[in-house]
């Protein structure tokens, strides 16, 4: 299955919260191997997670 960026961005998000199906994982991996924009979005989603984790430890 070939993904669009729109579909890939959703799968990136879902994949941060649950284990994707084998076919979704393969499709996403293939898409990310070819798409710079979606790699950026994935890195930005992961950064936001780190930022929110750091937010709860502020002024610790």
């Amino acid at each position: 299955m070939k993904l669009t960026c729109k579909e890939a961005s959703r799968l990136i998000s879902v994949g941060l919260d649950t284990k994707l199906s084998l076919s979704d994982r393969a499709a996403l991996r293939l898409h990310l191997a070819l798409c710079d924009a979606c790699n950026k979005v994935k890195a930005q989603f992961q950064f936001m997670r780190r930022a929110l984790s750091a937010y709860t430890k502020l002024d610790d």
């Binding site: 960026c5 998000s13 879902v14 979005v41 930005q44 997670r49 750091a54 937010y55 709860t56 502020l58």
Partner: protein, 197 residues
């Protein structure tokens, strides 16, 4: 001569964490009265169990952990009294159609974020993050912060709030896309990347 070890947490020291706890609770609950109630309950619980604080984490982390449980209790109670309803607007993905061409690929590829890790050492960045979180619609914000700030699994969120897994993932996706856009506009594209605090 024997020395007595000081207790790992002094009860009188707990009060100094109230302001930070209140800030955390308001972000989750979006209601100052509920937030104050949860913080008070958390501090009371902390005082009652102060002798069990092992010192493995900082006092703040320990208190925030107790507060998270109190906030979750509040959410449980609230969703038992009134079911959470996800509006059509909040469960739709149409808002983001403008980012994509008809073939589903980006019209404008997302801009790279310069030195994002550096932002984590700047208090102004967290003020922007807070404002971006406050701009999220209510149910979206609740689901997103339960997942990302409080570490609740999506299965537990669905159970606690009585929403479907698909709704949950859509809300979290919407939150991430909105937050990404907001941080880009208010921080990364605004040239805040040089450390200033």
């Amino acid at each position: 001569m024997t020395s007595t070890a000081s207790p790992p947490v002094e009860i009188r020291d707990l009060e100094k964490h109230r302001r930070a706890m209140l800030k955390f609770a308001i972000l989750q609950l979006r209601n100052e009265t509920y937030a104050e109630d949860c913080v008070q309950e958390a501090l009371t619980a902390a005082i009652q169990s102060a002798d069990r604080f092992a010192g493995d984490s900082s006092v703040r982390t320990w208190l925030i952990g107790i507060l998270k449980h109190k906030i979750l209790d509040h959410f449980r109670k609230a969703s038992r009294e009134q079911a959470v309803t996800v509006s059509d607007e909040e469960s739709s993905l149409d808002d983001f159609d403008g980012l994509f061409k008809e073939d589903g690929h980006y019209i404008e590829p997302p801009a790279p974020w310069a030195n994002p890790e550096q932002a984590l050492s700047q208090s102004e960045f967290f003020e922007v993050l807070e404002r971006c979180l406050q701009a999220l619609p209510n149910v979206t914000a609740r689901v997103f912060t339960m997942r990302e700030v409080m570490g609740v699994t999506t299965d537990e969120i669905c159970t606690e709030l009585g929403i479907t897994a698909n709704n949950c993932w859509v809300l979290i996706y919407r939150a991430r896309m909105s937050l990404r856009e907001c941080l880009e506009k208010r921080w990364f594209a605004a040239g805040h990347t040089a450390a200033s605090s």
